[in-house]
């Protein structure tokens, strides 16, 4: 090798080594920094503002916020538990709560004296472990409602009031199915309820597809199964038996996926988590309505050229409407490097001060009623009416809310239900097969 080349390479090597060894930030040093993880990049400014307020109240303490997208968040968190590089505090999700409780990586928060009544009903209780200890402080909540393309609804002759008074049943689909059918238009311009409708060549689907729903169906079939009176497990929290073998569940799911067979619901093949989620289908004009969560409100509002309205989830055979109310929480890790600071931060996060700040950014509904009010006002300023999402929480007469299932082995349940549901939706597998899956699930839970 030429001498010069050797020298150049050695130089590059030396430079790399010195640069490689230097680091200016340390990973959450113990005494004066609190590390906090969250996944929603859009909420980052809100929490940075919150952190500022916290640092003013607690001079000497600094909050270091790390944002990791949903796709990588849980992998990185798990790896950090294993290697001992975990954050002090992190945003927790009910779906993972059961798993983390199993693995005993969460710190009990009973001594923080969380007052459940300071938050929207049910939020604090959802974060109690099987042992009765509190493992998360309520952070924010979201519900599911029906987004619809206002122009398409108008040309279909459906007013906002009509869309707000829909009802369904597993036999004939009720006014809901009629509305969806009427909103469906095939390539020849025929609507779904007109003779000559070609279900194989649909131009605009009445309802967008959010996939097969996996084990929860949050933005797909859960409004229907719940308003039919079904619950995921035998108990509201920490049930030991799942109920995917129930006739109510199976007949509802059969009816729901049947909508795709009739051509009203977009088929499974049209769904893509990254490229073509429901909001993109609406924005592209390929679907007229979509169930989606409150965290997507701003995205729908920003769709160019399409004005989006929102409506309540339809009334079911029980006479009530149902929508999943999912509450996120902040949890402290069991081996947090800075436990004292973490407790202070978590207390501040769940306080009205922080929640009002976060609410004012108009991205999510914080858990405290004042925070929620601030969020509603912020949305109003942007010209968005969020009643469809907030009324279910306040009005217990016409609405019932329910949570993600909270059990042990939640990851296994997900891993088994996801392909089973996809099989029913995409490959026309019989719903009765879900009974077999349910048996497998209950076997695992029984261990």
């Amino acid at each position: 090798m030429r001498f010069r080349t050797v020298m150049a390479l050695t130089g590059a090597l030396a430079l790399s080594l010195t640069a490689g060894c230097a680091k200016d930030d340390s990973v959450g040093s113990a005494s004066d920094t609190v590390t906090y993880w969250l996944w929603d990049a859009n909420q980052l400014p809100a929490y940075q503002a919150c952190a500022k307020g916290f640092e003013q109240q607690n001079p000497g303490l600094k909050v270091k916020i790390t944002q990791l997208g949903w796709a990588d968040y849980w992998t990185k968190l798990t790896a950090s538990f294993i290697a001992g590089t975990q954050p002090d505090v992190f945003t927790d999700h009910i779906q993972k709560f059961g798993q983390f409780a199993d693995l005993k990586v969460l710190q009990p928060l009973d001594d923080l004296d969380i007052d459940a009544s300071a938050y929207q009903p049910g939020l604090a209780a959802n974060w109690q472990g099987q042992d009765g200890h509190q493992y998360g402080t309520p952070k924010d909540w979201d519900t599911v409602a029906l987004f619809y393309n206002q122009k398409m609804a108008k040309s279909a002759g459906l007013s906002a009031d009509q869309l707000n008074s829909l009802s369904w049943n597993p036999t004939d689909g009720g006014t809901f199915e009629k509305a969806i059918a009427h909103l469906t238009i095939d390539k020849n311009g025929k609507r779904g309820d007109e003779p000559g409708f070609d279900k194989h060549h649909v131009k605009v689907y009445g309802m967008a597809t959010g996939g097969a729903g996996d084990s929860d169906g949050q933005t797909t079939w859960s409004p229907f199964t719940a308003s039919a009176g079904w619950n995921y497990t035998d108990k509201t929290r920490w049930g030991t038996k799942y109920q995917y073998d129930s006739k109510t569940y199976q007949s509802t799911v059969k009816w729901y996926f049947g909508l795709a067979k009739k051509g009203y619901l977009a088929p499974f093949t049209d769904y893509s988590d990254g490229a073509n989620p429901p909001n993109v289908q609406i924005a592209a004009g390929k679907a007229a309505t979509a169930f989606d969560g409150a965290w997507m409100i701003s995205t729908y509002a920003a769709a160019k050229g399409t004005k989006i309205g929102t409506a309540y989830t339809p009334t079911g055979p029980t006479g009530k409407r149902a929508t999943m109310m999912n509450g996120l929480a902040d949890s402290i890790t069991k081996n947090a490097p800075n436990k004292a600071g973490a407790r202070k931060w978590v207390t501040y996060l769940s306080s009205n001060n922080c929640q009002k700040t976060v609410g004012s950014y108009g991205i999510v509904f914080p858990a405290t009623p004042d925070g929620t009010k601030a969020a509603v006002a912020a949305y109003k300023k942007k010209g968005i009416d969020v009643t469809a999402f907030t009324r279910p929480v306040a009005d217990k007469k016409d609405f019932s809310t329910f949570s993600f299932p909270i059990t042990n082995y939640s990851a296994d349940v997900y891993a088994l239900m996801r392909p089973a549901m996809q099989d029913v939706y995409a490959n026309d597998a019989p719903v009765s097969g879900l009974g077999k899956t349910n048996k497998q699930i209950n076997f695992i839970l029984g261990q």
């Binding site: 990049a41 400014p45 992998t75 790896a79 294993i82 429901p278 993109v280 004009g285 769709a303």
Partner: protein, 318 residues
């Protein structure tokens, strides 16, 4: 002196004289085979490049426009917003307004990190692997073939075996969240590099080396002065490919880095993927970021391509 060179195909044209009396024989018509070959080449180039055009077109469109006009061949609502987000020139507020994510990306920092890691990995890995390949290809020692078989087996080690133990080791060495920590596992060798170079070393005619050995040169000298120069093509090729692989590595750097000081470009670009469940990607930003991240690699390849091409001659020493 042995010179083995390829001579370019020179068609048989006689030198024209001033009087132009000699009638030039008609140019040979391109054979059917040659035409077919060029067509095949063109088709391959097209399939290779079309997605890049689509990336460019998407990068220059707005997110809102993309959903509404999925098949417009030109950028929809032409905007440089995607590139601005990718280079970290937009604030989070502006990013959200454009339906994207990733405001405030520290682009240049991540670029530097990527360069440092990739350079470190490439230089060390290629060098150490070349040394090992020489030992396997030219030196003779007991257990040589068995050890080579063992190295070869390393190709098949499932990624999941190495991920966690390596991570725990990096932590125990105190190298979490450092660039050295990212580079360390692949810095010494990869089975592929050793394997690849050994094959090439074996293919190189021994005469030149044996001549040097007879002249009294030591084996070490032969390695540095004779073999490596003769093997410069495969060594450079391996270097370029290793650099690219290291540049694009995603999962391991994701595990090791916790802060901006050690985040590399490939990990940073994940910000354009779904931030929340079911929200879809920031296509404009993601496509812009893809192009920008690939640019240094293009430059690198451009610089070395000529060397890889031109060193096709094996010249003797004497």
């Amino acid at each position: 002196m042995t010179t083995l060179t390829t001579t370019p195909n020179v068609p048989n044209t006689p030198t024209p004289t001033a009087k132009q009396e000699i009638v030039r024989p008609p140019r040979p018509r391109p054979s059917v085979g040659k035409v077919a070959a060029w067509v095949a080449m063109a088709a391959i180039m097209l399939i290779t490049l079309l997605p890049f055009y689509w990336i460019l077109r998407t990068a220059l469109s707005t997110n809102a426009g993309l959903a509404a006009h999925p098949s417009d061949p030109l950028p929809v609502d032409f905007t440089t917003g995607g590139f601005e987000r990718a280079l970290g020139l937009q604030s989070t507020k502006e990013a959200i307004a454009q339906g994207g994510s990733g405001g405030g990306l520290k682009f240049w920092r991540y670029l530097l990190n990527s360069v440092v890691v990739s350079t470190l990995v490439t230089v060390c890995q290629v060098f150490f692997s070349a040394m090992a390949a020489y030992a396997f290809a030219r030196l003779r020692w007991r257990g040589r073939d068995r050890m080579f078989g063992l190295f070869l087996a390393g190709l098949m080690v499932p990624a999941i075996f190495t991920l966690l133990p390596n991570f725990v080791l990096i932590k125990q060495l105190g190298l979490v969240d450092t660039l050295l920590g990212i580079a360390l596992p692949t810095m010494f060798m990869t089975p592929f590099a050793v394997f690849f170079l050994k094959q090439f070393f074996m293919n190189i005619p021994r005469e030149v080396e044996e001549a040097a050995l007879l002249d009294g040169a030591g084996k070490v000298r032969v390695f540095f002065r004779v073999l490596l120069p003769m093997a410069s093509t495969p060594v450079l090729t391996l270097g370029v490919l290793t650099y690219i692989t290291s540049w694009n590595d995603y999962f391991w750097p994701l595990m090791v880095s916790y802060s901006d000081s050690s985040r590399v470009l490939s990990v940073a670009l994940a910000i354009f993927r779904s931030q929340t469940p079911q929200s879809g990607y920031d296509w404009s930003g993601l496509m812009a970021a893809t192009l920008i991240a690939a640019l240094p690699m293009l430059v690198l390849f451009g610089v070395f391509a000529r060397r890889i091409v031109s060193s096709i001659s094996f010249t003797g020493i004497k």
